[in-house]
């Protein structure tokens, strides 16, 4: 398991993705899986950077782990900000036309659709969000 503790700021996104991609490459993750995982990681990290600390400084802790045969990656995001369960957010209506579609609300929906599993818990004042993704799509 590898861990990263990083300032929860949008401009740290490239560092977060570099950390994740390095681990995914070691696992032999396919290009397609890597892109889907990167998109999910981006959405979740940017969410923390945007909302968790309500403008104050704070850190995000990110852990990545794999199963013995490297077929699944488990990535956990932890922050100590405002309790927030993004899974409670209502899914956007993907059948609306371009004119009717609101701009936004897509990020967590993409995460739910592309990841095998997304789990939220709140423990000891911490938001803990875990995604599990296949590495061989």
């Amino acid at each position: 398991m590898k861990e990263l503790s990083i300032e929860a700021k949008k401009d740290k996104l490239n560092d977060v993705l570099a950390f994740i991609d390095t681990e995914l490459e070691i696992m032999g993750c396919s290009m397609k899986s890597q892109m889907q995982i990167d998109v999910a990681v981006e959405e979740l990290f940017v969410n923390i950077a945007s909302y968790a600390y309500e403008g104050d400084d704070g850190n995000a802790f990110i852990k990545i782990d794999t199963d013995p045969d490297n077929s699944k990656a488990t990535i956990t995001f932890i922050d100590e900000g405002v309790p927030y369960d993004p899974l409670k957010k209502e899914d956007p209506d993907v059948t609306l036309s371009a004119e009717e579609r609101p701009i936004g609300g897509l990020g967590i929906f993409i995460v739910k659709k592309t990841m095998d599993d997304v789990i939220y818990t709140h423990e000891d004042g911490k938001n803990i969000l875990t995604i599990i993704a296949s590495t061989n799509k």
Binding site: L13, K32, I103, I110
Partner: protein
């Protein structure tokens, strides 16, 4: 990300190279805001686009809304991995993909 623009009469082609994500989307948003009202066809050439996140999708959606008022918008040469993101988000039905 690199943005290549080519204006041919009233048709503007924007070639996207690299990653359209949280960091680079504002750059594309600026380019779209700067599009003149005389442009009636906007073409995104996605051949060299490697990655798109929801931040990028939001910019494409606002471009689509803008172009609806003054003409049309199409996406060309969409890679399979990007096509899948368009699929799960329902964008595949609201954008025109050639």
């Amino acid at each position: 990300m690199t943005i290549n623009k080519e204006l041919n009469g009233s048709e503007l082609t924007i070639g996207l190279v690299g990653r359209l994500d949280t960091a680079t989307s504002p750059q594309l948003e600026e380019e779209i805001k700067a599009i003149g009202s005389d442009v009636n066809k906007l073409v995104f050439d996605m051949k060299e686009l490697e990655y798109i996140s929801s931040a990028g999708l939001r910019v494409l959606l606002s471009a689509q809304k803008m172009m609806k008022n003054q003409g049309s918008m199409v996406l060309r040469n969409v890679a399979e991995s990007i096509n899948e993101i368009l699929e799960v988000t329902g964008f595949i039905d609201i954008l025109t993909i050639e």
